[in-house]
């Protein structure tokens, strides 16, 4: 009975090694000589370029077509977005250092860098949540004496009718239930729809990336991340760098071009 049990355990080990060899360490024959998982990841990233390309194109097509505000210049804060961009760029560096650490067999180094990558990813997401919250709760505040002087934005000027006799300042526009009417949501205007769709999908990609990184971090404590299985980290790193390069494009096209004050008035 004991011998039989030992044989079963031995058989299970052999089977596990066979499975590991096939799927874990990627030591299989391929016609290209390249790893299939890595090839698939690059194909996926190429297709994801088209996905984000169409979203960015849609944003650009409807740029400046919104009939009602708020508009990008009422909402965007370039200094804040620059900080979150910097955080995401630095997370790419820590990600690649995590990969370099596991390639050297330094599990401790891997854990430190991959955790810092995940934390920076979460920081970026926190910035995005803050931004979305601020946009949704945007309120107009202006002095009625500024109406017609050119100091107010087009969106603020659209509320000049609020400056009736006896009213000197406008502090938010609300409906009868007290709801703010000047915030930006996906259904407010074309800008809101395209902006939230584009940045929301990017944020979803970052969220998935953070989950992936944390999974690798915790999996490393169970012996699942080793030097021999560095491809698992490599694939996660490729995905993470991809969300970084997508943001490089979004930051320039949506934010910098979107509210550049130097464009002539059309």
């Amino acid at each position: 009975m004991i011998q039989m049990k030992a044989k079963v355990i031995k058989g299970a080990r052999i089977l596990q090694e066979a499975v590991t060899t096939q799927h874990g360490t990627d030591h299989e024959y391929t016609t290209t000589g390249l790893n299939h998982r890595k090839l698939l990841m690059w194909a996926f990233l190429g297709s994801d370029c088209m996905f984000f390309g169409s979203l960015i194109a849609t944003y650009m097509v409807y740029y400046g077509k919104s009939k009602v505000g708020p508009f990008p210049e009422d909402l965007f804060s370039i200094p804040i977005t620059s900080v979150s961009t910097f955080v995401l760029l630095m997370s790419s560096m820590s990600m690649v250092l995590a990969y370099a650490a596991i390639r050297k067999g330094s599990l401790k180094g891997f854990r430190v860098w991959i955790l810092s990558t995940a934390l920076m990813g979460m920081t970026f997401l926190a910035f995005q949540v803050f931004e979305f919250y601020e946009f949704a709760n945007h309120e107009v505040h202006f002095d009625c004496s500024q109406v017609g002087t050119g100091n107010l934005s087009a969106f603020e000027e659209s509320f000049q009718n609020e400056c009736i006799e006896g009213v000197t300042t406008v502090d938010g526009i609300h409906d009868s239930d007290g709801n703010n009417l000047t915030g930006l949501t996906p259904k407010t205007n074309l800008f809101g729809t395209t902006f939230f769709t584009l940045t929301g999908f990017h944020g979803a990609h970052v969220t998935l990336g953070v989950i992936w990184l944390l999974s690798l971090f915790f999996y490393s404590f169970r012996g699942g991340v080793t030097r021999e299985r560095d491809l698992d980290v490599d694939l996660a790193a490729l995905y993470w760098h991809f969300v970084d390069i997508v943001w490089i494009v979004i930051f320039t096209v949506v934010y910098l071009f979107g509210v550049f004050p130097g464009f002539p008035e059309s």
């Binding site: 030591h27 690059w42 194909a43 560096m93 370099a100 560095d230 760098h241």
Partner: protein, 111 residues
Amino acid sequence: MAQNEDMSTETHLGSENHSDHPTPLTYFKVAMILSIITAIEVGIFYVEDLSYGIIPILTILSVMKFALVIMFYMHLRYDNRLFSTLFLTGLALAFLVVIALLALFQFFTPS
């Protein structure tokens, strides 16, 4: 034990598909260049006199950042060319989709 070590080395090389990777120092230098380019981008943003001239400048700077990340951090510079082909094909198609959509909706036509 020795057999296991051999297998370990063999399988590790089997999963590589690439030769030399940059050192952590190179990664750090790339990160610094990326930071500097971003700072330049933000600085240029406040130069209103550039008018439409800001479009090619920021586009070039973004392309530089993009290229640095895919070449050094995603190792396309060091990996097999098939990976580059797969990714750059998707990227080129995406670029064409963007241009086609913009042209279709008369983005380039002055209103």
